[in-house]
């Protein structure tokens, strides 16, 4: 609580002569203080004790998230990586197919800024990794968005309506979960992927929504029994309104956290596909493709697989850390440490 306004006003009233009307200097007393307050026209900061300074949900969330050092660090790291990847033309010291004939098969060095070394043809791996990251991130974002949309919608519908709708949707989800992911992914990627990041992303997304659908369904099942949902229904709100305006915002936490997990998983999956040669078409360098290329000379040029590999691990880890931070920040029962 701030101090009451009176003590603040009074010394001023006595020090400064009264400016306006009311017979001038005579009234430099307590009275003057009162008059001044009236005349100045600006209402002083007034508290009757009913103004409550409370933090909004969002402020609380932001506070907790910003305090999570690991998550903030990871966030910063991801931001830099993302910016670099999408401005690869400007950031990368070389083009991804540019050949430095003099510096072939060089281990990481500052000479000529071959930070991640070069391959047998003299292509700069640092630049190739940056370009590769761009592809990986593109695929990951497509996957995260599409699978979140599908998973949330189907999970919400299943959890809200229960009964046979729930049974059908969840058995469908089960079906996708029990299918051997990589095998199906390989087949689909081979037939429909055509080496384009968008298509690869959609294919991965179509196979990765069930986990989120299950989570959202679970949350909806518990939320639909909440009193405020009953209250909304009693106020005449329709199904769609209740689902998407009342229940969905209460599910944002799990959805966001799961989104980060999907993001990380998608990067790994895309790398796997690329490694197996079914991802993005060469010569576009995808991270998995780079590892695959380096595989043959693994024993002599270790950096060719270590560097792209480390990049994949770092990105996936960072995304997971951000997810951790989000989960902690979104959990209202979590005490501030």
């Amino acid at each position: 609580m701030s101090e009451p306004s009176q003590p603040d006003e009074r010394p001023k009233a006595q020090d400064v002569p009264v400016r306006t009307g009311l017979g001038g200097a005579d009234i430099v007393t307590d009275d003057a203080g009162l008059h001044r307050a009236d005349d100045s026209g600006e209402a002083p900061e007034y508290h009757d004790g009913t103004q409550i300074v409370a933090r909004s949900q969002w402020q609380l969330f932001r506070r907790r998230f910003f305090r999570h050092k690991l998550a903030m660090g990871s966030m910063l790291f991801l931001l830099i990586i993302t910016l670099a990847a999408f401005n690869a033309e400007r950031v990368a010291p070389y083009g991804f197919n540019e050949i430095d004939v003099v510096m072939r098969s060089t281990p990481p060095t500052f000479e000529g800024w071959h930070l991640f070394g070069t391959d047998q043809l003299g292509r700069d791996y640092f630049s190739r990794v940056i370009y590769g990251t761009r592809v990986s991130l593109q695929v990951a974002v497509v996957v995260a968005i599409i699978s979140t949309l599908i998973g949330t919608t189907l999970g919400a519908v299943a959890g809200y309506y229960r009964g046979w709708v729930d049974a059908i949707l969840m058995r469908f989800a089960d079906l996708i979960i029990i299918v051997p992911l990589l095998a199906v992914l390989l087949i689909f990627a081979a037939f429909f992927g055509q080496g384009q990041p968008m298509r690869i992303g959609v294919i991965i997304a179509l196979l990765s929504w069930p986990s989120l659908a299950r989570i959202v369904r679970g949350v909806f099942l518990s939320l639909r029994e909440k009193e405020y949902v009953q209250a909304a229904r009693a106020a005449g709100a329709g199904d769609l309104r209740i689902m998407f305006r009342h229940m969905l915002p209460n599910t944002m936490g799990p959805i966001l956290v799961n989104m980060t997990l999907v993001l990380a998983a998608a990067i790994l999956l895309e790398a796997t596909l690329a490694f197996l040669g079914l991802g993005v078409n060469p010569p576009t360098p995808a991270l998995g493709l780079l590892i695959n290329a380096g595989r043959s000379s693994m024993l002599t040029s270790w950096w060719l697989i270590i560097m792209p590999g480390l990049t994949i691990v770092a990105i996936a880890l960072a995304i997971n850390f951000v997810g951790d931070g989000l989960r902690d920040a979104l959990d209202p029962t979590q005490q501030e440490k």
Binding site: Q51, I52, E227, Q230, A231, A232, A234, A235, G236, R245
Partner: protein
């Protein structure tokens, strides 16, 4: 209490009017693994415009299920409205399509829930939730809705309503939230206002304020209020007429004064004599023996007979389900031996050492 003229006027004045809401022979059941729960078993009562109808009874007596049936908010897979009519202005709500029913909820029939802590959505601002209640039923702009909400909040006594509009439920105290809930319920000028234990979850010091707000809401909307509670003090304070429920059935109806001064059902008497009263010096309280009945397996005959002193050892009570005996306008009792209640009251009076009947006359 003690408004003696009401005692004379209320029944006759009310009897002339058409009932706003009339529940007829309502049966609501729930299927459970243990059997069918007869939560509401042939309940009938009526609500008139501008009156407050108190519904009393212990937990599981079917008070809430009855009003949830009125709104058709019974979860459908386990629950089922098996029989009855719910006439609102002559329309049977049970026959309406889901879409039409949605138009009734929150507009013609509005509800105030028990726990204001959980009945507001934590992620939406209070103002938005109130505005939503208006926007669902009225084709007006957001600004107009906001204006109306601020008016409503002021009406129910929320200070700084304009700032409070944008605050979230966790920034409201319990009493303020219940005020907001009342504002939400009266937003569309409902014909029927259902308050399901509106003060049970609140601090005692806040209860009186909230009841006052509820009273104001009633006057403002001229709605018929159904006030569900197990707090007889609240009933005495607020209600014009009372419906006493037991085991999913109505056991007694009457005006507040009739119920409090000359109960015609042993269960009502039991409720009254088991309650400490600050205004009277009672020697001892008389509890109602036994347990509330299982709604899966109701006792045969009068469902109160295993706990009843009056019916002890009487064959009729054990075998015959008592009908609601009409005892006068708006006055009824479901006791085979309601004529003997006079003696029963005297017996209880001698135990408690206070008069039940006419103690304030």
């Amino acid at each position: 209490m003690g408004a003696e003229p009401q005692f004379v006027d209320a029944p006759t004045g009310v009897a002339d009017a058409e009932p706003l809401l009339s529940i007829r022979d309502l049966v609501t059941e729930f299927k459970t693994p243990d059997g069918i729960v007869h939560a509401v078993d042939g309940v009938s009562y009526e609500v008139f415009p501008g009156e407050t109808l108190g519904v009393v009874g212990e937990s599981g007596s079917g008070k809430s299920v009855t009003v949830m049936s009125v709104l058709r908010l019974i979860p459908q897979p386990p629950g089922r409205i098996a029989n009855g009519q719910i006439l609102l202005d002559g329309t049977d709500l049970l026959q309406l399509s889901d879409a039409d029913m949605r138009k009734v909820r929150g507009k013609d029939v509005a509800m105030i829930f028990q726990d204001p802590m959980t009945s507001l959505n934590p992620v939406l601002s209070v103002g938005d939730q109130l505005a939503e209640a208006i926007l669902v039923h009225n084709d007006i702009g957001e600004d107009a809705a906001r204006k109306r909400v601020v008016e409503l909040l002021e009406l129910v006594g929320v200070p700084n309503a304009d700032q409070r509009f944008d605050q979230y439920p966790h920034e409201y105290s319990g009493g303020m939230r219940q005020r907001a809930m009342i504002a939400m319920a009266m937003a569309n000028q409902p014909k029927i206002l259902i308050a399901d234990e509106p003060t049970t979850a609140l601090d005692v010091t806040i209860q009186a304020q909230v009841l006052e707000v509820l009273e104001r809401a009633k006057e403002e909307t001229n709605a018929g209020v159904i006030l569900i509670t197990h707090d007889l003090g609240v009933i005495a304070e607020m209600a014009d007429r009372v419906v006493v429920m037991y085991g999913g059935r109505v056991v007694e109806t009457g005006t507040v004064d009739e119920i409090f001064h000359s109960p015609k059902h042993p269960y009502t008497l039991g409720l009254l004599s088991s309650l400490p009263r600050p205004d009277v010096d009672m020697e001892r309280l008389v509890p109602i023996p036994g347990q509330p009945p299982s709604l899966i397996n109701l006792p045969s005959g009068c469902s109160f007979h295993p706990r009843c002193h009056l019916g002890e050892g009487r064959q009729t009570c054990r075998t015959e389900i008592p009908p609601l005996f009409e005892l006068g306008p708006m006055r009824a009792s479901a006791c085979h031996f309601h004529e003997e209640m006079e003696d029963e009251i005297h017996r209880v009076e001698s135990t408690t050492g206070t008069a039940i009947e006419g103690d304030e006359a």
